[in-house]
Chain length 318, copies 2
């Protein structure tokens, strides 16, 4: 059950505005605070823009862009909120200082979330008077459409706060993913960052252009990743025996210089974790069942991509 | 103009069968060779399975599953082909030996492609009598649906062969991406492998399960990657100023331990390559135009994922 009624957003850049649009579309009253000149105008413009898609997806009863209110001081902005989401620039000292101010003026049972991409919650909560109600709640751009939010508690976070936050995120059509171990970059950004750094190496080494790399992602792995992550994808590539066969066949490739990233040792323990993970995930569905579902999905997705991919006019057609 | 009429597939595992299904659906006569016991039965079953989706996508005039013929010797199988695709297991010596046999019996103007995931073409063509007609043509599973094929020529490859191969791939509804510099793993697999290795580290370090990692990909970056690669995605995340602003804001994160992969130095030269790449790619379309297109796409894709994502019964709902 969701116990959140009033939400406040602190910091209204691309991510803060994304949260605001999502909260409004879900029928909440939203209070916003941002000291930057012209912030309110920019936010209202961003919400107008997002609203087109949010209407297509379907608004909650009573949802209105008019239910957004900017307040001039952070003290007042957070005073009545049940949930406060912080989205100031990704600098540790700045975030800690803003979070300390929020902590000072918020109700003691309010939940405070931070959109930080990379900083672990134990670091951010260390200066708070009530660190038990602090979590990292890391969303993905565009926040008003993408469902994923990584929820990470720090050393001092109350488990019940993580639970209440997840119930809230569930209720606003998000997919909260609780990360149980604090690491820099959490989980999703570590995966993205690995791919991103390899992409920069390829550009830097003159192997491919930015455009060629984008094409290499979209028309291959990208189409699959919209439906299945890397593990289930490889489970299917293994044929009837799934991941077990896949690891036998491509395990040795982990030693090859196929990326600048060194792989972990493929120990029996790691193998079993990966195989059992895929098998329990797949549950009763055989590889053939999953393939069937994947194919139906891909046929429809290919039409969609054909319609909406911003195909370049400049990509070399050999 | 496409000059290929007869195609032969050597090696009929998951990838070889994927090629066969695609060629048949595009209206070709296909000859196959695989010395393994029961290979023909397995291939016909795989083609039957693929055919369901291929019919949904639309078959070429005259396309028929009956136009597949298995031939018992590799010599005969390749003798009349205009295009031969090799898909034997990923072991350098095995591939070289099979390719040498193909080279010996194929017509001198036939094109020989290899599906190798990681080996560079100069290595594979080194023992051929006619290395000039050899290319790497690396596809993605399922080959009968995913459009990407990386085309890489080696030191001895004739540029005209690369061109003819691309025309052929274009004509069978693929997206040929020519890679101009030979590196292990080509381009797409280097990107995937970087993400895959980071994923294995996360499992190995006990940060997340295979299922949590899959969720972290699908509901965040994966949905975006079906439409835009990492560069255009970040171009949009940068707001009105696109990639230029993005690199200013997140450039410093390259120094942070957000993945086990070390980033290249973000020199002015690399910055400009990345920024100019995105700007020329985006062409006349402003970030706002691209956002609008992205949002329409995402709204439809979210419905599709909701319908087809193999949602786990076991994923911890906090």
């Amino acid at each position: 059950m969701n116990t959140i009624n009033k939400v406040t957003v602190v910091g209204t850049g691309v991510i803060g505005n994304g949260w605001i649009a999502r909260f409004l579309a879900q029928g909440y009253d939203v209070v916003a605070f941002d000291p930057a000149e012209g912030a309110e105008d920019r936010t209202r413009q961003a919400v107008n823009h997002a609203w087109i898609s949010l209407e297509q997806k379907g608004l909650a009863a009573g949802a209105s862009k008019e239910r957004l209110r900017f307040i001039d001081t952070i003290e007042e902005a957070v005073a009545e909120a049940d949930f406060i989401q912080e989205n100031v620039p990704e600098r540790e000292e700045l975030k800690k200082s803003v979070l300390e101010t929020i902590d000072r003026y918020a109700k003691t049972d309010a939940i405070i979330g931070s959109s930080t991409s990379g900083i672990i919650p134990s670091t951010l909560q260390s200066g708070l008077q009530h660190p038990e109600r602090f979590i990292v709640a890391h969303p993905f751009n565009p926040v008003y459409l993408l469902p994923l939010v990584e929820v990470v508690g720090g050393k001092s976070t109350d488990a019940n706060v993580v639970k209440r936050a997840c119930q809230f995120f569930d209720s606003i059509a998000m997919k909260p993913l609780v990360i149980h171990k604090e690491v820099d970059g959490h989980v999703a950004d570590r995966l993205m960052e690995a791919l991103w750094r390899e992409a920069l190496h390829l550009v830097n080494d003159g192997v491919a252009t930015t455009e060629e790399i984008d094409t290499a992602i979209i028309y291959g792995a990208g189409l699959r990743w919209a439906q299945m992550g890397p593990f289930l994808t490889f489970h299917l590539a293994g044929g009837e025996q799934g991941m077990r066969h896949m690891l036998e066949q491509f395990g040795p490739a982990l030693k090859l210089p196929w990326t600048k990233l060194e792989a972990p040792e493929l120990t029996d323990e790691l193998k079993e974790k990966v195989i059992e993970g895929c098998e329990s995930y797949a549950g009763d569905e055989s590889v053939a069942d999953l393939e069937h579902k994947r194919n139906e999905f891909l046929v429809k997705l290919l039409d969609l991509v054909e319609e909406y991919w911003p195909e370049s006019k400049s990509l070399n057609k050999n």
